[in-house]
Amino acid sequence: MLYLVLEIDGECYGLNALSVTEVTPLVELEQIHEGPEFLAGLLNYRGRPVPVLDLRRMIKKKPCEKRYCTRIVIVEYPRTTKTLTLGLMAQKVVRSVRVTQEFSPMELRNAPYLGGAVVERGRILHCLTLEKILSPQQALEVFG
């Protein structure tokens, strides 16, 4: 399986490439006042508003830095019967890896989006489970 690697403060997170539509550079987002903290803003994605999550904010409680390698990964977020377009902002989105071994399973109460880990080129790669990236409460806030 091919995984897109996102880095957050030196930790590697893998996102299954099958769910990725596009990787776009960092762009200016429309801020949502009074919106939840993890929501970086709304992206004008080819004429459609798409909510963008700041993954560094979600995981490390710090916003992503404005660098060239900070990118927005456009994904199809599965929700009940349909899929919704969602943007994930992360840093150092510069490579992808092919993972052949199984992810060692993991189920953390406070981080349900971590679907396990493998060792890839001597580094731990966490698997991001896209459907659990938002808690039901958060999904409700973002998508209604």
């Binding site: 550079p25 004008n44 080819r46 390698c69 900070t70 510069v94």
Partner: protein, 217 residues
Amino acid sequence: MTTPGDKNCWRKIGVWGLESPRCELLELHLHCRNCAVFRNAGREQYNREIEIDYLKRRTEELAQPPKQVDKGRKESLMVFEAGARLALPCELFKEVMKSSPIYKVPHFKHPAFLGLVAHNGRLRLCCSLPVILGLDRQRESDFGFMVILEIQGELIVFPVSKLEGIRRYQASAIKPSLTSEREGLFSFSRGLLENNDVHLIDENKVLTSIKGALRPI
């Protein structure tokens, strides 16, 4: 002394540098571009603070609605010159070869039939496409290449003066030519391409015409 991983090590002890001793990692990687030090330095370039102009430009680009892509059928055509600019579907082309000698067949004269050409140990009919299409006679000095076409299972050799290459066209980009024209090039034309400059030839009509010309044999 510079060691691998130092700033710009590839310009000092690597392939772009002259310092000695040479980098020991070159033994393993042969070229700096295969080395993780160089790769990581490249990735580090992306770690710069983003410029506001770039950010604004990309924001604008990403907001543009997607371009409508014509998903219609595409045709791969070989464009070549033989009396005029012509095109034929790629799948008809079995081989393209340098011009080779044409053996005349005695006691048989037809302007469209040039003779026989040896190809892979077999003799193939060699015909003149411009004559069939009602264009000028082909001069032998114009025989730049010979193309071997397979039309309805028949392999026929045609000398051409120039091969322009393979182009892909949307089926909608091929404009139908005038159907009222019954003579000459237009009667063989399936359509026109590139500002009506290139004729897409109907290969079946060419074969019918060749069969008609060779009937006495």
